[in-house]
Symmetry: C2
Subunit: 481 residues, 2 copies
Amino acid sequence: MITIDWKPNKQDKTPIYRQIIRYINDKIAAGDWPIGSRLPSQRAMAEAFGVNRSTIVSAMEELISYGILESGFGGGTRVASNTWSLRMSQPPDWNKYIASGPFRANLSTIQTINKMEFEPGYIRIGTGELSPELYPGRLVSKIFRSMPERIPNLGYLGPLGLPELGKALSAWLKENQGIDADASNIMVTSGSLQGLQLVSVCMLKRGSNVYTEAPSYLKSLQIFQSAGMQLSGVSLDEEGLQYWHIKEASNDALLYTIPTFHNPTGTVMSQVRRKEVMGFCQKQRMPILEDDAYGQLWFDEEPPKALKSMDKTGSVIYMGTISKTMAPGLRIGWVVGPEAVVYRLGDVKMQTDYGASSVSQWMMTELITSGDYDIYLQQLRTELKARRDYALAVLEKHFAGLATWNKPEGGFYIWLRLRHKVSMDKVFQDALKAGILLNPGNMYDYAENHAIRLSYAYADPEDLSRALASLAAMIEKHLKR
Amino acid sequence: MITIDWKPNKQDKTPIYRQIIRYINDKIAAGDWPIGSRLPSQRAMAEAFGVNRSTIVSAMEELISYGILESGFGGGTRVASNTWSLRMSQPPDWNKYIASGPFRANLSTIQTINKMEFEPGYIRIGTGELSPELYPGRLVSKIFRSMPERIPNLGYLGPLGLPELGKALSAWLKENQGIDADASNIMVTSGSLQGLQLVSVCMLKRGSNVYTEAPSYLKSLQIFQSAGMQLSGVSLDEEGLQYWHIKEASNDALLYTIPTFHNPTGTVMSQVRRKEVMGFCQKQRMPILEDDAYGQLWFDEEPPKALKSMDKTGSVIYMGTISKTMAPGLRIGWVVGPEAVVYRLGDVKMQTDYGASSVSQWMMTELITSGDYDIYLQQLRTELKARRDYALAVLEKHFAGLATWNKPEGGFYIWLRLRHKVSMDKVFQDALKAGILLNPGNMYDYAENHAIRLSYAYADPEDLSRALASLAAMIEKHLKR
């Protein structure tokens, strides 16, 4: 929790250890370093402040003598008090508050990833995002130029979002996915992650089962677990989710699935399996939450249409987004479902953030209605396919004896299954030290695994090649031990 | 829930009652009208479809004979089944799902308001939003033109938001509010409503007390109640919240306050009261959640600085936003607090919507750093003051015998307290019929009241004048009964 991003000024007349005392005291007084927090080791602090360890020892001793720090049992130093005098006013016990609330913290690996993604100098071989090199700057500039004429004002919008975007999405979904949905069946969200969040807090009871593919992207989130639901993994084969493993009579349950270019395995559910899954769920009267973040990103041929396109009884809640195809920064997704469902979701959305950015919604409207989005997607498919081919060639070269993998027909991901057991935690940490940020497969799975989610969408292909070569060497070294 | 926005085609060869049967059947089959939903009255349907009541009766009879509709006990017709044959596949029982989940539905008055705000033809005399007439179109166009050069790409951002915006807010908060906060103490949110939502799910235990002014804007939301917390109203006088009514030893509690231009009463907490509240909370070690949505909107003199500016111990979580001063559609707010707190909030934000729109964040950055925002605020203050003066004059004319009210020194609201008891629900409904949308005071209060939240920010002043004249007449008529 505690980070040090300051160094004493060696030009200053105040002795360096005094400057450090003042810095630490200010941090504690401001509540930035809450009571009970553990300080970094003396060696780490010496390094962070750029001083000798003896200077740290002097500063620590003084702060301990004031009762501001204390030596913990079993080593380590902790924050004990936050004022020079305990009679002075005190901040709230933030650590207690921070530990409260039903929403769980992110998995620590994901916290690390979220943080390291913004540190320069790492090769990111698992990032589920398009490379900045693929950013269509000219297209976005064109959209920006059209905005002043498009936008009448930037007032609040209603529960379903910008009506113009609802209409545009209705037409586009019909054309692209064969999905029949009126604007009244479509709600705009701040990315499809928010669609999941809304479903978790307003459509399911505590203790309900949420079935998902195993492995699944959903497992890497804490959304449903934070709301008290149970995630149950359902195994996958090359045709998709093996629905027959779902227990019958699963009252109050929900099936979450990514049928097309599944995250993290890249699997596409076959047409036959789609029909079976639909039939099974309709018989069980179990709703399906279909996540179609990657469906547009096919290479050689169009995948089967979305489950929602076969949905004649209103059993499917469908989620789409522009985050994976072009611009996650817009934070725009859409949920399609029966009116009663989107009405409920919209009502809660109005209470949680009062809608998605209307600038983003207008930009999305322009992008779709101008036809520019479809043209852009065609170009993107070609570029992504070249990246996939390159990644597969690199794997063939370095991982042939070490792992097996799929050949994805679209989307971002290769699911690299190591042939032998190694500590994935160790691999993650060692890779990090070598400047490689990877997504270990156990983030996504219900049981231990030895897999890595690779993405050919983000890293520069040459960087990816170098990183995979060192990763292979690293894993070989582990195996030899 | 059920709305009819379709009419039969009188040119069509299919008999009209058959067209209606098909329309209703399609709606039910698609799950838009879930099983158990109640249909509008025959008269209302006849009106909505633009047909005779006898046509409706024929259609209903046929659908009832198929078992698709059923006559309810005590009148009314409900959806009984959703397929021609019960052996066919069925959609999930959406009504059951919709009623699940811990998040409560909005108060029904608010649902009505959220909906009617997008129906044309109503005069909105309570809307907490700037009039579209005050929209600075030229300024926003200028910001749009600067975007292509500003924005390098639209990728995902980290937990605290756009670093450039964090830096800009840090400098601006120092300059404008005397708040000392590094970028590492600031998290960008999708409007300050999201700040509240995040605090509700990750900083408080179920059963914790949240103290607020009575009345309070917070009461009109279900955020804390949905997360299992208790709201407790604390009375207000002309100097602000009467903190001495808060019970001591309120472990795990939080104080939510709008000290400046309070919503809905317009009150400004005095400097003396601010110091007392800060001292009281520090003694109790109770965190303060300070909502400063209106602080910039002063008329003649600057109000006292934010509580956060006096916060030397890190006891205050401060929330600001651009929604009330310029552009709610940007959906940009900010939370300022100890690093450990914003880190926790940011971690959960990453799991719920992965950040606010980065286009909105870049626009906000440009707005602040260019200095345009401060110039704009100066002009806005003059215009809002003129609107307030006009509203006060209108009230003097029509409400002198009927109500008492405050003279706000900033913000949007006049809290109109009726002198005599009338049914506020009746007033709301009658006003609605007369084309006036108002915010009844009981939405904001903990006990029954007879007040109305007026806003001079939204309605055109002449419309506001006409609406207030009819409202006064309406209330007088009620009192005479």
